[in-house]
């Protein structure tokens, strides 16, 4: 088996490397990908068409927004898939699970966590909101926000975190996030233009059609952040307790 694996890996590797002879060199600004029309359009015209300086966010949320919608659906599938595979609904109320109801880590950890946690959350919200002007966006901010809840669960115990963010609430948040994203696209559909064509929203948002694109990107990123936060915490709580959601790590 190992020999077969080694041979297969060698063959695949050689095949991949044989193609590099006609690849552009490292950092070549005149390569087909970097000099092509699509990339030039993104770099030169993005700010004038969408009023968003961060090209990556503009491409992610506007030009290729359809892809990002499915990316959010992927992370949603991961969350409900883990619940579907692992979650054990029968054994959650057995008394033995609440016996050593943990209080998480020690006193020092809890104290530090309660000091730091608000700043983490504010920074996460900043990353979401400032995605237009600096590296950031819905996914990045959402992961940080979810991580803050995981930190809460680690320091104070999973039952304390569940009081703030129960399973039902997690699912509702995740669903609301995707609703915001897809619903915003359907709003564009109802106003007459194609799905996810934000320019038509200048009738209900302040500013001209380009500012409407900029605002819509923010709305869509907020939807993504909701879903990612909820699913990050749900994945942690299911994987660390093996689906019983009783005692954390």
């Amino acid at each position: 088996m190992k020999v077969f694996g080694l041979i297969a890996v060698f063959v695949v590797g050689l095949l991949l490397l044989s193609a590099t002879q006609d690849f552009p060199s490292w950092g070549d600004p005149r390569s087909a990908a970097s000099d092509g029309e699509v990339s030039s359009f993104y770099i030169e015209k993005t700010e004038s068409v969408t009023k968003v300086p961060n090209m990556v966010t503009a491409v992610l949320a506007d030009f290729r927004g359809y892809d990002t919608m499915f990316e959010t659906v992927v992370i949603f599938i991961a969350g409900i898939g883990i619940i579907a595979v692992l979650r054990n609904f029968e054994g959650t109320d057995s008394p033995s699970d609440h016996d050593n109801d943990d209080d998480g880590a020690g006193l020092l950890a809890r104290f530090t966590c309660s000091l730091i946690l608000p700043f983490i959350q504010i920074f996460a919200l900043y990353v979401v909101a400032h995605g237009h002007h600096s590296p950031g966006g819905g996914f990045q901010g959402g992961v940080m926000f979810g991580a803050s809840y995981i930190l809460l669960a680690l320091a104070f115990g999973l039952s304390k975190a569940k009081q703030l963010f129960s399973e039902r609430r997690t699912m509702i948040f995740a669903v609301i996030g995707i609703f915001i994203y897809v619903g915003w696209g359907v709003l564009c559909l109802l106003l007459g233009k194609e799905f996810l064509n934000y320019s038509v929203l200048d009738s209900i948002l302040p500013g001209d059609s380009m500012m409407a694109r900029s605002h819509s990107m923010l709305v869509v990123e907020i939807g993504v952040a909701f879903t990612v936060t909820a699913i990050m915490f749900s994945m942690y709580s299911n994987l660390s307790t093996r689906g019983r959601l009783s005692k954390g790590l």
């Binding site: 088996m1 190992k2 694996g5 080694l6 297969a8 890996v9 060698f10 695949v12 590797g13 991949l16 490397l17 590099t20 002879q21 690849f23 060199s25 490292w26 950092g27 070549d28 600004p29 390569s31 990908a33 970097s34 699509v38 990339s39 030039s40 993104y42 770099i43 030169e44 993005t46 700010e47 004038s48 068409v49 300086p53 961060n54 090209m55 990556v56 491409v59 992610l60 290729r64 892809d67 990002t68 990316e71 992927v74 992370i75 599938i77 991961a78 898939g81 883990i82 595979v85 692992l86 002007h133 600096s134 590296p135 966006g137 996914f139 380009m210 299911n238 994987l239 093996r242 689906g243």
Partner: protein, 155 residues
């Protein structure tokens, strides 16, 4: 022999070293996925494989002369002060010509944001499945699992 090998390295490996590194990383990950016995080691191989692909894509978008793909109005490369309150967008274009060589290619970054999320989701789901397997079989070694299945069932 030596000048030929040196020439080969000079022409093919040095200017394109990024492709070589990432393909080698990918092959390490692929080898782990195929040959390892422990399920978690297979998953680690999967993570290495996907990460190498992500790095490969990001390395496509690098430009020697370029910085990050965010247009900054305060940096030293800024050509002219743009009329930010102007109504006409075409006037903006004339005042603010963006040199595309100063910015890295944004498209690979966007694609890889998606690929990272897909990779994380697959890893999370695979970990949940391996926890389920551990609960049912008591072990995470593939040969032990197959041995347990063999006398009990067929195929």
């Amino acid at each position: 022999m030596d000048p030929i090998i040196a020439n080969f390295i000079e022409e093919n490996i040095v200017p394109k070293f990024n492709y070589w590194i990432y393909v080698i990383l990918m092959m390490i990950g692929l080898y782990a996925m195929i040959t390892k016995n422990n399920l978690i080691k297979k998953l680690i191989g999967m993570a290495i494989f996907q990460t190498a692909i992500i790095l490969f894509y990001v390395s496509i978008g690098v430009k020697e002369t370029g910085g990050i793909p965010i247009i900054s109005h305060h940096g030293p490369d800024h050509h002219q002060e743009a009329e930010v309150h102007s109504e006409e967008s075409s006037k903006n274009l004339k005042h603010n010509i963006i040199d595309k060589d100063k910015y890295a290619n944004p498209l690979p970054h966007v694609l890889m944001l998606t690929a990272i999320v897909v990779g994380v989701s697959t890893l999370g789901l695979a970990l949940a499945i391996s926890q389920r397997i551990h609960k049912s079989f008591g072990t995470l070694e593939e040969d032990e699992i197959l041995n347990e299945l063999r006398p009990g069932g067929h195929d």
